[in-house]
Subunit: 533 residues, 2 copies
């Protein structure tokens, strides 16, 4: 039983429980030091040598990045560095990757990608600037982690290099955005990027600066001090008042074989049908931050622990006006916490867009697809809405549908939906009145408006049909249809880059018996089928 | 021996030799009628039933689209229609796909994609407007062919539908841009696109119009006449003077086991090393149109016939100033033929960008990387330039480096290369003087400038190293590093869509013993591994 076959990953953690990262707060700075405990892999079976990471290490990093925003808003710059001798980070653990199931590899890469994007989101929108202090070997996913930071500094010790050795050593791609960030974020010349990505030993010293791979070099003797000075300079640029921080409470869901139950969110599995029902309940003491944290956690559990579930039915409960009022208040971004809450909601919704399961939203009696919760329906592949005789089933927009919760490629979900008529997207987002089923259908907000008498049958058939289709074809189809419009660097990571990586992971040249990933660290040389596609 | 294992495909054809298409010229209209001869597959082993296509059918289409531009510039609108009873086109032949090697499937899809883009290029830039006259079943690749046209009309006979049945019937994606064109070109609402792409029987009649899948319906009784009227209206919009046409001469290369030799272009294989040398010789009677047609043909032969070749060394021979003068004249687009020549050169260079082989340009004595030929070097993954003591080795730009030969994603190769400094890209493109090796190195035009004494060794080592790497990892790496910058719909087809399709093609759920593609048409139902990634 390799990783990815564990009974269930838990995504929540706390700095007091970290095994691999040390978080030190010294406002306006914080330092995140990676000192991986090689004896604590997330599942047994491999050692985390040389500051290499697995899902457990990245769960701690994601937790720290999130807590810094909410619990330590007074922090303006974060130094990411290595705590072992002469190594910053050696990237994802190869033995973990080589022994993992394909679905786990893909979801592991997706999660680490999302964590890197969360770091970039903090730099861009939270006034927390990340600096990579590469105090030693910075290889593969280690360099990709550095690439997610705003600035990268490398120790000039005549030895330490940055590298992406995946292609020459493992026969796979750097899977965490490396190729895209090298050319699109750091704007490294494409031919130099080509040399760099095929050079197992990487690039060090002045050449690393000349090629734009790092922002600067400091000698070992004053490395920490110089990075600290740079971090203080970045921190000094941030003058928005922030704080005091809040405490991020544990979610502690109640987990049973067929359900994960949170305060506002419930995930109920129907394993026989390969479906699940994911409900956001805004009826009692609705707190958007808590609800979206729960939704985020539920999505990750779904991806990592329940990979046989192919279709998720999205539901909501609550009062439209209550949610709209809360949204309107948030949209004013009167304080730092509103801003952070919106950013977390936006990240969670992007996680939903990028979840490789079919998503059907069901709008029925008592549902509450308003504003921020309407985005959940708009993220779905289809929206089914009950046409009730009373006209009580309704959806509504709020100020949050106009741009504060963008998709990965930068458009709103309404803009993406109404590509053919941008003015219509604007009009719908600004609608003052809720939409009953007829109005929603006319506005193009629903895939099917269904009369009460047909409701159960039509839903049942749609669900059964969807659950019968090839899971691979659906993954590819949904990855394409969800993202109408031009792509940016972020969306290229999940579109172009990850799709190629998935392909390579599934090929014998990487994961076959004689593949490069399988044989890494063994005396045998890989054997390739040389046919180029 | 299935298709894709043939000893060698020939890409050239002529209307007099067509087996599957009929081309009728009636200025300002032309009609291209698909009446596939089911007994004439490109390699033996399957029947081309129901107007389904294989590579041979698409080679004829590509030839017709090219000849219409050059030989029949007086044609302003082209009607694409079906010549069999009640069928427009049923798409790519499934048995051909199911029995093909992976590399062939991928290259077949790439070629058909490029043909569809050539149709769109003719609509946008050559004043030849394509209309799809869907006079019957329009399924899968048949609908994708229609999607490449500017307008789509469907017969309203109560029966004929447009459909993309790949996901529900075959467990693969529509592989020829269908999903991207549905949402990005026709701007179909994403949830309707989702329903459409999972509905094996497709959509017909008014619903097809309402969903934006087709532009209009005409009853069977006046279908031809109505389409013809619409084509004449489109043709009437084109008033630029054009013609008379020229004759497209056969290329007839001399083919031996280790070489394909044309007038200006030579492709020499070094099978033991898994490398090839592709040289464009502009020394004698250089004719750019002929030379780029030869280059195009050589690239296609390389892709389809020599898939064990992993690295192509790109060379040129000739006089810089001669090529620059020719480029300057072409750049003025004084007549329709200059315009068409430029468009063909641009398409050929895009074919080079999209060729999944490592590309090294070698700039040595006698080389001629100037202007349009410099683009060949800029398309390469690396550029090696000899530093000769005489300073005779030089490169040069021309007016064609400033935007007339764009990449698939819309940027020039200089813009893509110098993402970090757009002003530098403009400056280099406008440089009046050639660059000797030192100047080229300083300008960032070369990956490595190498002294004479090291030249042979350094090239040999670089070539050997490249040829030793995983061919899959290189394909993925190059597909990512070549396209810095934002993506548009065209580039999404080759990036996001094709990458996902490649992944699905290589998965057991499609091509395994019990996969959906393998079992299509057989009584057994496919068996899926339900784990979603």
């Amino acid at each position: 039983m390799g990783p990815g076959r564990s009974a269930g990953y838990t995504l929540e953690t706390h700095p007091s429980a970290y095994r691999h990262w040390r978080l030190a707060i010294e406002p306006p700075l914080a330092t995140l030091t990676l000192a991986v405990d090689e004896e604590s892999p997330v599942v047994p079976g491999y050692k985390l040598k040389l500051n290499s990471y697995d899902l457990g290490v990245d769960i701690e990093l994601a937790d720290a990045v999130m807590r810094l925003r909410f619990e330590h808003p007074e922090v303006r710059a974060v130094i990411l560095t290595g705590g072992l001798d002469r190594v910053f980070c050696a990237g994802a653990n190869i033995h973990m990757l080589a022994t993992s199931a394909h679905a786990f590899k893909v979801n592991f890469c997706k999660y680490t990608n999302e964590t890197r994007l969360a770091i970039e989101d903090a730099c861009a929108h939270s006034g927390q600037h990340y600096i990579a202090a590469c105090n030693g070997t910075t290889a593969g996913g280690g360099y990709e982690l550095a690439l997610a930071c705003e600035e990268i500094y490398l120790v000039d010790d005549g030895n330490s290099a940055v590298s992406l050795p995946e292609v020459p050593l493992l026969g796979v791609l750097p899977g965490t955005g490396g190729l895209t960030r090298v050319i699109d974020k750091r704007k490294v010349r494409r031919d130099l990027a080509d040399v760099f990505a095929t050079l197992a030993e990487g690039v060090k010293g002045k050449r690393a600066v000349e090629w734009r791979l790092v922002d600067g070099l400091f000698p070992k003797s004053r490395f920490q001090e110089a990075v600290r000075e740079r971090a203080l300079a970045l921190a000094a640029q941030e003058t928005r008042p922030k704080g005091p921080g809040i405490v991020i409470e544990p979610l502690d869901p109640e987990v049973s074989p067929d359900a994960v139950l949170y305060r506002h969110v419930s995930l109920r599995l129907n394993r026989g049908e390969r479906t699940a029902e994911l409900t956001i309940d805004a009826t009692t003491d609705y707190a958007p931050l808590r609800a979206f944290r729960e939704l985020d956690d539920a999505l990750l559990r779904l991806r990592l622990n329940y990979d046989e579930i192919g279709l998720v039915i999205l539901k909501t409960r609550g009062d439209l006006e209550t949610v709209r009022r809360g949204d309107t208040e948030l949209s004013q971004r009167a304080d730092w916490l509103s801003n952070e809450t919106l950013l977390l909601m936006a990240r969670t919704l992007r996680r939903l867009d990028l979840t490789a399961r079919s998503l059907f939203a069901v709008v029925d009696e008592g549902s509450c697809f308003a504003g921020s919760l309407l985005e959940i329906a708009l993220a779905a592949d289809r929206i089914y809405m009950l046409r009730d005789s009373a006209g009580a089933v309704r959806m509504a927009t709020s100020p949050l549908n106009s741009g504060l919760l963008p998709m990965t490629h930068g458009l709103t979900r309404l803009e993406t939906r109404f590509m053919a008529d941008p003015a219509h997207a604007v009009e719908i987002a600004a609608a003052a009145e809720p939409f009953d089923t007829d109005a929603a259908e006319k506005a193009g907000l629903v895939t099917a408006a269904v009369d009460e008498i047909d409701w159960e049958d039509e839903l049942r058939v749609a669900i059964e049909e969807r659950a019968s289709l090839s899971p691979d074809a659906l993954t590819g189809m949904e990855a394409n249809l969800r993202f109408a419009g031009a792509e940016n660097a972020d969306s290229k990571i999940f579109g172009r880059l990850s799709a190629w990586q998935n392909w390579i992971f599934s090929r014998p040249n990487a994961t076959g018996e004689r593949g490069a990933l399988t044989l890494y660290g063994k005396p045998e040389r890989p054997q390739f089928n040389w046919r180029r596609t």
